[in-house]
Structures are given as C-alpha cells and as structure tokens.
C-alpha cells in the first residue's frame, strides 16, 4: 500500500475511545495500525500505558469487535488507492496524463455515502449517543470516519500532484494550447491536426484549465515585482557569457553589441554552427 502522510484519527474518535472506558487508547492504535499497514503516522498519545485489570475484559471484547469491523475496510479504500497510484505514476511522467473524472467522482461519492451512513446510524439516538453502551455502533462510526478522512487525503494528494505539474509547466513558460494538444502524444503543430482546438481530448479537467490560467496570472504578478532579475531565467550558474572566436571565413560584417574580438556566445552560436567562426580556448 502506498504511504500517504498524515492519515489521522480524528478527535471524535478519541472521544469515542475515551468514553468507552479505556484510558490511553493503545489498543485503538494497534488495531487501526494493523488494518492500515504503514498508513498511520506514529502518534505518541496512542502508545501510552496498556490497559490492565478490569479494563482488560472490556478491552478484549471491544478489540475483537473492532477488528471484525476493520476487516471490512479495504472495501472502502480501493478507489482511493487507485487515485494515489495514478498520482504516483504522474509524478514520474514528463507530461500530464488524462484527468480521472470518473474515479474522482466515485471517491467523492463514497465520502457522501459514508457520511449518510453516519447520520443514519446516529439518528435513533437523537443526539444522546453513548459509545460505552453502544460499542458496536461506536466501532462502525470509527471505521466510517477513518475511511472518509482517508478518501479525502487521496483526493487531495491526486489533485495536488497534478497542480504541481501544472505549476511546473507555467514556470517553464508552457501555453494552455500546448497542453490541449499533448493528450495523445501525437506531434502537435503539424499540418495534419488542424482541429486540435476541439477540447474534447484535453488531459486537463475544465477546473484544471482554470487553475492553469489563474496560476499563470499569479506568477506573472510575482515575477513583475522582480523584472530586472528575470525569475524564469536559467537556474544554472552563468558560465562563459563571452567567448573568444577566430574568424574562419568571411561572413560579412558581424554585428554584436560588444565589438568583434570578444563576443557574447548567444550572439554568434549560429555562426559557429555554420562554420564561419571557431570558438577558442
């Protein structure tokens, strides 16, 4: 299972756990930890003293029921996992793969369904739910809360991975039209694809296209504060801004800003490539 940082036990769950009469909740940590593998971060308050004495019977019965509930959890996590796998793959790609519209909808729907479950579970209690007397319900609630939060993390991770990619493209000076044309990996700009503007094949969701434009505007604003620095310029240290050249054949008059004995490399690169000039030492 891919690790997602920060999937956490919400405060409500602590409340439930504490009311169930178990002081420091180590059992809760262990159970959930087992169900989630490496997903849960280490949390110091979960690993306090182990329950002992008369609490132990309560502990064992709750834990047994809890584990049977937890076993049902993968059913809820599957779609979220798929999203995270998509995000992981996207990180290693140079382009942006198509937006998973259906998957995103399904994961969001799962959250709404879980929320409805919670509401209907709590409904009979009319606001007076007592976890210590309703342990089975408490455990179901706990599982639902965890699943919802986990799905939320998956959706956030998936979208953030993609916006990171979009931002990188903005930094590199990409145009929204460049992105629209890159979906199928076909060479763009040729005479063959005259109708690339149809929009149906874009790998970006409409929301992502909006975000791309908005971030572009924000970056332009930020860069505008440092116009003389040229923030999108090279991040490699400057080397050999000027070079010495030897004239190999007459190319007429070479006009550079700084005269002809020592020239800006950028000004004469073409002439070097064409064999008029030779770069010296």
């Amino acid at each position: 299972m891919p690790a997602i940082p920060g999937v956490s036990v919400c405060q409500n769950l602590y409340l439930i756990a504490c009311r169930m009469g178990v002081r420091s909740g180590n059992w809760l940590g262990v159970g959930i930890w087992q169900a989630y593998g490496s997903l849960l971060p280490h949390h110091h308050q979960l690993s306090g003293a182990l329950v002992a004495g008369e609490d132990k019977e309560v502990f064992l019965s709750i834990r047994k029921r809890q584990i049977s509930q937890l076993e049902k959890m993968p059913m809820y996590g599957d779609l979220g996992n798929k999203l995270v796998q998509h995000a992981k793959r996207t990180q290693n790609l140079s382009h942006l793969p198509p937006y998973q519209t259906e998957l995103v909808r399904a994961v969001a729907r799962e959250i709404r369904d879980l929320d409805k479950d919670v509401a209907s579970l709590l409904e009979p209690f009319q606001g007076s739910f007592d976890p210590s007397t309703e342990q089975a319900t408490a455990c179901t609630l706990l599982v639902n809360h965890l699943s919802m939060r986990r799905n939320k993390r998956c959706l956030l991770a998936y979208h953030r991975t993609r916006t990171d990619k979009l931002e990188e493209l903005v930094w590199n000076g990409a145009d929204i039209l460049d992105l629209a044309g890159q979906t199928t990996g076909a060479p763009k700009g040729g005479a063959t694809d005259g109708n690339e503007g149809s929009g149906t094949t874009s790998s970006l969701s409409p929301q992502e296209e909006d975000y791309f434009r908005q971030f572009g505007d924000l970056l332009a604003l930020y860069k505008g504060q440092w116009t003389d620095i040229d923030l999108t310029g090279s991040l490699e240290p400057p080397r050999d801004l000027f070079i010495d050249v030897r004239v190999l054949k007459d190319a007429g008059e070479i006009q550079t800003e700084y005269g002809q004995f020592y020239v800006r490399q950028g000004d004469v690169e073409r002439l070097i490539a064409q064999g008029y000039l030779q770069k010296l030492g």
Partner: protein, 278 residues
C-alpha cells in the same frame, strides 16, 4: 516546481561560488577601476600585483590582459607536503584547513591580530544600518570562504583551502602557463591528493554506518568533495534516521518516562485524556 534542484549546492553552483575567491594577478595592460555592483575594482598598472575575484581574473587571463599568480599552496613542494601529511602523518583525517588569517593593522605595523575576532566600530557600521545589532555578534563580520584571502599569492603554503579543487581546476585549465612548475606535474600531484582524500571520505562514511550515529565531522574537507558526496552523505544520515525513527521515538519515550518516574514517583499517567485538547 519553482526550483527543480535538490537541497544543497550542486557541483556547478560550488564552482560558481569558488569564482568569488580572490586571486593575485599581474596585469599586462593598464585598466582603470570599474564600478561593479560588488565594489570598485582596483586600478591595474603593470607590473603591480592586484587582487581580483577569480571570475574576473580568468576573464583578463583569457584576453591576455593579465597573468595569474598561483597561490602558494599549489606549488609542487607544498602539494607534496600536504600529500605527506595526508598519507604519513595522519592517514585517517583530512589535512587541516588553513589557519585563520591574521595580519598587522595597516596603520599600526607589528600588531598582528586575528581577522575574524576584531570588530572595530567604523563609519561603515552606520552605512550598513546595523547600529542596533552591531553590539551583538554580526555573522557578516566573520569572514569565511570564499571571502577569505586563502588563494592569493601570499596565502600560506601547506594547507588546502576550502575551494582547493575548483581553484586548481580553473587555474590549470585557463592559466596553465602561469604555473610555477609544468602544469602536468601539478596536475599529477593533485590527482594523487584527490585519490587519497576520496578514500578518506569513504572510510568516514563507513564509520557513520557502523555506529548508527546521526552526525559526522569532516574537518578539512573541500567544497567540491562535499558537493560530490552530498547526496550520498545526506541520504545516509537521513536513511539511518528514518529506518530508526520508531526505535528512536520509543527510546525517547522511555527516557522521558524514566525522568518523570524519578520526579513523580512513577504515578505519571493521570492526565493523558485531558491533554488531547478535547
């Protein structure tokens, strides 16, 4: 991603940094002072020596407007001495860095003082607007590479400055004819030094693995040697930490408990529910 580079300077960035080191040049042509962002350059009048940042010295050298005086540590005798120290005197450690510079005050000859530890109030303090903080230690008043005179003609022989490899590489490539000995001889001594020190770098990291410690001192290491090994060293230290994270957390908890046990007589589990900020 706004900066597609790893944390820590890359090798190219380290070379760039080394080009700020001051070196000594002997001008072959007159050149008036130039008003640069980093201050005015000295007037160049052959045959008087002057100190310039390496990038500017290289620019002059490439145009045959000046020769570069190699720093004393690059002389073959000095390099041989350093190799002797690295192989015979202390085969475990890197040879020590240059001693902190000291010099006599310009107006008071004979009163040598450590450069970094004298802070004389001057009119510049007002200009740099640090009047409030100037009583405290101002980090900017402490000079360190590349802003120490470690590669000028007068810098002491027998010590490798922090940017030794980059300086040597630049001077051998662009000012080979200014070397005090055939460039090939200097190059071969430097190659020996690189090899001896690479072996030390490897053995120091094995010490780190052996003890599982999370810190390591590399006195005398050079900037480029560090840049070449940075990803590996940082990865090792971070890796040791991450693998041992839960063991470390448990150890700390036990230590904390033992401390609290000592203070409260072992009855310390009362407030865990209230502490969760519910």
């Amino acid at each position: 991603m706004a900066l597609p580079l790893p944390t820590g300077l890359t090798q190219n960035e380290v070379s760039f940094l080394a080009e700020m080191e001051m070196v000594t040049v002997v001008p072959r042509q007159r050149l008036d002072s130039i008003d640069l962002l980093g201050g005015k350059t000295p007037q160049l009048r052959p045959p008087h020596r002057a100190q310039l940042p390496l990038w500017l010295a290289l620019l002059l050298k490439k145009q045959r407007r000046a020769n570069i005086v190699p720093p004393a540590w690059m002389h073959p005798a000095s390099l041989a001495e350093i190799i002797h120290r690295e192989t015979k005197e202390d085969p475990e450690a890197f040879s020590p860095p240059p001693p902190p510079p000291s010099r006599a005050l310009y107006a008071q000859p004979g009163t040598a003082r450590r450069l970094n530890h004298q802070h004389q109030p001057s009119f510049l303090d007002d200009l740099t607007q640090t009047t409030l903080d100037s009583q405290q230690q101002d980090p900017n008043s402490i000079l360190s590479p590349p802003f120490l005179p470690s590669n000028v003609a007068e810098s002491p022989a027998g010590y490798l400055p922090y940017h030794w490899l980059e300086i040597a590489e630049a001077l051998l490539t662009h000012a080979g004819d200014d070397m005090p000995a055939p460039a090939g001889e200097v190059r071969s001594l430097l190659r020996d030094l690189v090899e001896v020190r690479a072996a030390k770098m490897r053995s120091s990291t094995s010490a780190l693995e052996g003890f599982g410690d999370a810190w390591l001192t590399l006195r005398g290491v050079g900037a480029m040697e560090l840049a070449e090994n940075r990803a590996f060293l940082a990865g090792l230290v971070d890796g040791v930490r991450k693998i041992g994270a839960s063991a470390e957390a448990t150890r700390r908890e036990e230590e904390e408990e033992a401390r609290r046990g000592g203070e409260y007589g072992g009855d310390g589990d009362e407030d865990s529910d209230e502490d969760m900020g519910l």
